[in-house]
Subunit: 213 residues, 2 copies
């Protein structure tokens, strides 16, 4: 059965994005520092049309994360910096005309918008009727593969609180952000049952995987 998988990088003080997201700071102020472990990887450069890069203990982890994913769910703030009503159709995501998803991406928002067909197989669909609806649509679209819960923190925490996440693979970066979007916020004690299934010591990051439930 298709799983809802959360793969994300968190600072040591619990943030998955810095404060004050903007077009200049898509992951908030300081948020880029979370991902310094991934930028040098050959796997990352391949995916973003770059060249070279290195292979290290993180390589197998990112390959596993990106494999068998047939659809993605994200919050509206992960899709872009615009708040409130869509002023027009001009914002098409942070990733250019060929985003690195290559499958349907379901964007949770309160404001309806027509689907956005991009190059390379990515289509952004805007879901206004809640997280369970988005999950049902994503699972159907994934055609037997898993669904990636991409972020941000608010959407992730809603899915966690609702008991809908099956697996977490968390990268813990050696960074203190001090402010921003906090993962695992607002959850009640014991509401998420976790079993650690592996941890990987990689250059500048630790990857810990949990089975949920």
């Amino acid at each position: 059965m298709a799983k809802l998988r959360l793969n994300i990088t968190m600072s040591l003080d619990g943030y998955v994005a810095g404060p004050d997201q903007s077009e200049e700071d898509p992951i908030g102020v300081g948020g880029q520092e979370l991902h310094e472990w991934v930028f040098p990887l050959k796997e990352f450069r391949d995916m973003h049309g770059g060249e070279g890069g290195e292979t290290n203990a993180s390589s197998a982890v990112v390959n596993e994360r990106w494999a068998n994913i047939g659809a993605t769910i994200m919050g509206r703030n992960m899709f872009g910096p615009i708040r409130g009503e869509w002023p027009d159709e001009s914002w098409r995501g942070w990733w250019g005309e060929d985003p690195p998803y290559h499958h349907p991406v379901f964007v949770l928002t309160h404001h309806p918008r027509e689907p956005l067909q991009m190059q390379g197989g990515t289509i952004f669909e805007f879901v206004t009727d809640g997280i369970e609806s988005a999950l049902a649509r994503a699972k159907a679209a994934a055609q037997g593969e898993d669904v990636w819960l991409a972020g941000g923190a608010s959407v992730i925490n809603q899915y966690l609180a609702a008991g809908l996440v099956d697996q977490i693979d968390l990268s813990i970066a050696p960074v203190i952000l001090g402010a921003g979007e906090r993962l695992f916020d607002g959850l009640e004690r014991g509401s998420v049952k976790l079993t650690q299934t592996r941890a990987v010591d990689a250059p500048g990051v630790t990857h810990i995987k949990y089975q949920v439930g």
Copy 2:
């Protein structure tokens, strides 16, 4: 030179103790769950006068943490549940007459109290003139060995903010506490520079070590 070393277990949502500490819940409600990985260890049972126990990937980690420690610093709430003035001399810590420290323990408090000589080499000394004074006294008492920064979160966060911690060995437990005492709280972005030096995948816990500064 003597180092100030922080060795502590944190929940996935960032807490090192649950809420509502009391004589019945020394680590707050749910706080015991943080330490489930350590209770089965032979090393833990040996230290607390028990028998049996197992050896696993955590064993080398706890042996390393407990080695070369000549003094401990803790906050007043880690020493006991009493707040405000000491009503009398009757509270002598959570650990009975032979606490597992076997060296000088400096307790930070606003309320003066005479030193408390316990069995087995532990002596509790109460420090009222601040964290730097406690560190200087602990380093002198440690006689060339390192100083363990034991907790709780409030004291640890003060030492981190002051740039006085040299090394962190953090155990991350697969637990959501939802409330309690938060580690790394109130720190500014970039105020603590961390370099990950190793991570250990152990049963039910991940241990990550950082060099600070």
